[in-house]
Symmetry: C2
Subunit: 177 residues, 2 copies
């Protein structure tokens, strides 16, 4: 489990393992999900109703600057928040369906190859890398074709299939209390 290695890493730096941080670390690590700050806050509040949103932001910032978590934006498919995941795993790309929002992870050798090429090409020292890909998953391709067909039958002008045309309208999450 990556949790323990994170905790160790923090202890080494003299960072205090407060109750709040334990809760947050546990949530980030356990849920394989890609949580944003607000979501993480809501989940943490269930374990400690007094835990403040600010603490979530401060903890995430610390973990990010310590290189213990990575920050993603998943192509802003649902707004401008950032998402977080522990750095345990091997480098991977995120593949986001712009229609249903599903996020897949792609591991594989092309990523390492790309990384090596960039390092040698520029003499660059890579600390963080991020590849995000947006489009339509197999399932949504089918559904979308059907939708377009229906629109055509209803006598409407068929929307031209455009590079970014199908992006779902931004749903702004609302902080509830």
């Amino acid at each position: 489990m990556a949790l323990d290695s994170i905790k160790g890493s923090l202890r080494e730096k003299g960072v205090r393992l407060t109750r709040q941080r334990q809760i947050l670390l546990e949530l980030i690590d356990k849920s394989g999900l890609h949580l944003d700050a607000e979501r993480l806050y809501q989940m943490a509040k269930e374990q400690d109703p007094k835990l403040n949103r600010v603490t979530v932001y401060r903890t995430l910032k610390m973990l990010k600057e310590g290189g213990l978590v990575d920050e993603l934006d998943l192509m802003h498919h649902a707004g401008d928040q950032h998402y977080y995941e522990t750095r345990m795993k091997q480098e991977h790309a995120h593949v986001i369906c712009l229609r249903c929002g599903k996020v897949e992870e792609f591991f594989g050798e092309p990523l390492q190859r790309l990384r090596r090429q960039i390092e040698s090409h520029f003499g660059f020292q890579i600390l963080l890398a991020r590849t995000e890909v947006g489009g339509y998953c197999a399932h949504c391709q089918t559904l979308r074709a059907r939708e377009l067909e229906q629109a055509r039958q209803m006598g409407q002008v068929a929307p031209r299939p455009h590079p970014d045309g199908g992006v779902a309208p931004r749903v702004r999450a609302k902080h509830s209390a």
Copy 2:
């Protein structure tokens, strides 16, 4: 020039080429730079002092949703703004030095390979792809080594070389008037 193809593409859709949009398109296309909304606004204001910040955001949003520009965040090396570039060029990765802020572009076959692999692995239809890499450029690696050496000589504890340790503190740009 990509400008004309963008203009054509907009005209086709019945989008009006207003004075403001011409100014903005010109700026985005001409400056090879990666501009954020605020910077673009400041530059546009020099040509038309009445042009409003809101128009900049609306134009960028339209271009983005029309697939005519790509939105980047360049690893948030200078804050949480987004940066924009025309989609003319071949797909490329952005390589950002976290110390000096320089942005390099990497073209090359590993990117296409990665793209193809993702498409075939998931049966995914890619519309947008983005690879951003953060670290130290060749020049800053040298400077940083020197800095660390000096810190050591001054009797301080040598900062452990950390995955994300050297990121410059966030400078929040301020809207001036």
